[in-house]
């Protein structure tokens, strides 16, 4: 269930409890007070609203007092359970409780007990509808106190949450499938690749002298294709495991991340004679070090890989915009750029803007997007074919205090100053 639905439910439940109190107040005071005045009208008005709300709410509202007498049962209860309202009112015990499936009944009783002691509680369980169908139901139990603060009744608002529970179960099932898939790819798909590469290499080793140019070239194509296949399999595993794994929410120094990325890419930087411009210092952000490394490694790596033949790569990395909460970081290059038609799909998995002869799996930018999404950031791109590309990542800043505490525990001299 979404946060919104939960909030609305909580609000409705609180409102109901309040209105019920007012309605009861009106009943008990009407004997003594003249309610023809303005106050009387207001109370009348509120009580009416209570009735409208409970009649039209797609949730069952039941109020039982401390003696176990059901004092109110809303019409929707019949829709939820299939049993007429009268059965709930007339039953000396808790008729509603008798509909809760055996396995969940203990939990339901415990929740009732807790609410009877004055705590709000939410309980989710399975309920047997009169038709024989079993539903998932969620009940919010709220104690209602009298004017002396003593618990007088418990308000129970129950909703059919079958659809959302099923949805959750489906998501869990999909996650399991995804894990099985990753496992299958890791084991079964990689084994034949190992065979192809191993055997091709064995043939090359054994016959290198006697192979003619033609056959040697064919063999190289086999090895190349197996390598490409292996890289693809690796990227599929990487991408699918990004959905399954938790991503930490910690303070990460982007300066440190970028240091590592540039260090690890120094070979390619040198080979391509690239100029890397780091302008200003990057701030600390919320996220996970390894994941942010992947983001920057992909973006800087792409800037190096998709460089234009006629000029050496120039890559600038800088903070474009910054406020108290967010920071936008730009990675700009003078490479071959991305064709306009490909731009809208560039963050989707297995999409490639350029020839398949440039090595790549079509997964890098999809990973970037997935990681940035999962740490509540955004990534956008501007590009002109033949001119270069500009990627902007917006991330949540880590407050300076947290960084200091996380990276440098205060020394004793600092502590004594305070």
């Amino acid at each position: 269930m979404s946060l919104n639905t939960l909030l609305i439910t909580a609000l409705v439940v609180a409102l109901l409890a309040l209105l019920w109190r007012i309605r009861e107040q009106r009943r008990s005071t009407s004997h003594f007070l003249d309610l023809t005045g303005e106050l009387g009208h207001k109370l009348e008005d509120l009580a009416e609203r209570y009735d409208i709300l409970t009649t039209n709410l797609a949730a069952s509202v039941i109020i039982r007092n401390v003696d176990g007498v059901t004092t109110f049962c809303s019409p929707y209860t019949e829709v939820l359970t299939g049993h007429p309202v009268g059965e709930f009112i007339e039953d000396a015990g808790d008729f509603f409780e008798s509909l809760v499936v055996e396995n969940d009944r203990k939990r339901f009783q415990r929740a009732k007990l807790v609410s009877g002691l004055g705590e709000d509680i939410v309980v989710r369980y399975q309920l047997l509808h009169r038709s024989g169908i079993v539903l998932w139901v969620e009940t919010h139990l709220v104690p209602i106190c009298d004017s002396d603060g003593r618990i007088e009744s418990v308000l129970a608002v129950s909703m059919d949450v079958t659809a959302s529970v099923r949805y959750q179960q489906r998501i869990e099932e999909q996650n399991r499938d995804l894990n099985d898939f990753t496992y299958m790819v890791s084991h079964d798909l990689k084994a034949p690749i190992f065979t192809i590469k191993g055997m091709a290499s064995a043939i090359r080793e054994d016959l290198n002298e006697s192979l003619d140019q033609e056959s040697r070239e064919s063999l190289e194509y086999i090895i190349e294709a197996a390598n490409r296949l292996e890289a693809l399999v690796k990227s599929v595993i990487e991408y699918s495991s990004l959905s399954a794994k938790e991503i930490n929410d910690e303070s990460v120094s982007l300066e440190l991340v970028l240091d590592e990325v540039l260090n690890d890419l120094s070979g390619a930087v040198k080979q391509k004679e690239a100029k890397i411009g780091r302008i200003g210092k990057l701030p600390a952000v919320r996220g996970e070090h390894l994941r942010l490394y992947q983001v920057f490694s992909n973006l800087v790596g792409n800037a190096l890989k998709y460089c234009a033949n006629e000029r050496s790569p120039e890559i600038s990395i800088y903070t474009a915009q910054e406020n108290d909460e967010l920071v936008a970081i730009v990675i700009q290059d003078n490479g071959i750029g991305i064709p306009n038609a490909k731009l809208k799909d560039i963050f989707r998995p297995y999409q490639r803007a350029h020839s398949r002869d440039i090595e790549g799996s079509g997964i890098g930018l999809a990973c970037v997007k997935k990681i940035v999404d999962r740490i509540h950031g955004t990534v956008t791109v501007k590009s002109e074919e033949g001119q270069g590309s500009e990627f902007t990542i917006t991330l949540r800043k880590s407050s300076p205090n947290t960084v200091r505490v996380l990276s440098f525990p205060p020394s004793s001299s600092e502590a004594s100053l305070e």
Binding site: S186, H187, A191, I193, G198, M199, S201, I237
Partner: protein, 139 residues
């Protein structure tokens, strides 16, 4: 170090992979008697043969694939570690998988080393040679 050939048990269900490992072992320049099994059950039979009870005939090294048709290589590691004569046997687990969960499971069950089959063939061959020499040659 025994004067006779070192006995090596290789368990892998893929014929081609056994061939590649055989090639690597040949290049290790160690006197090896290789005994191959294509499944856990064959390996269990080999290990249960009474003749293996005498120290002369016990294995000196085991190379076991992780994912076998009749189970996981780690199961065999667990069983080997329970036998007194194999408590300290060097065991190499081979797998195509680089999943952390697989590497961790192998370590937990008592494997001595985990080699991935996905690296390039020359490097894989060299890794096998290094490990075999490390475990079978006197220091």
């Amino acid at each position: 170090m025994k004067s006779t050939a070192a006995k090596v048990l290789l368990v892998d269900d893929t014929k081609a992979h056994r061939k590649l490992i055989r090639r690597a072992l040949k290049r290790a320049e160690v006197n090896i008697a290789l005994i191959e099994a294509e499944s856990l059950s064959t390996a269990r039979t080999l290990l249960a043969t009474p003749a293996q009870q005498s120290t002369e005939n016990t294995f000196d090294l085991a190379i076991i694939d992780l994912n076998l048709t009749d189970g996981f290589g780690t199961e065999l590691v667990t069983e080997l570690r329970k036998k007194t004569e194999y408590r300290n046997l060097p065991i190499i687990i081979l797998s195509t998988s680089t999943l952390e969960s697989d590497i961790e499971a192998a370590r937990r069950e008592g494997a001595s080393c985990y080699l991935t089959k996905s690296s390039d063939p020359e490097r894989f061959q060299q890794q096998i040679i290094n490990e075999v020499k490390r475990y079978l040659l006197p220091v």
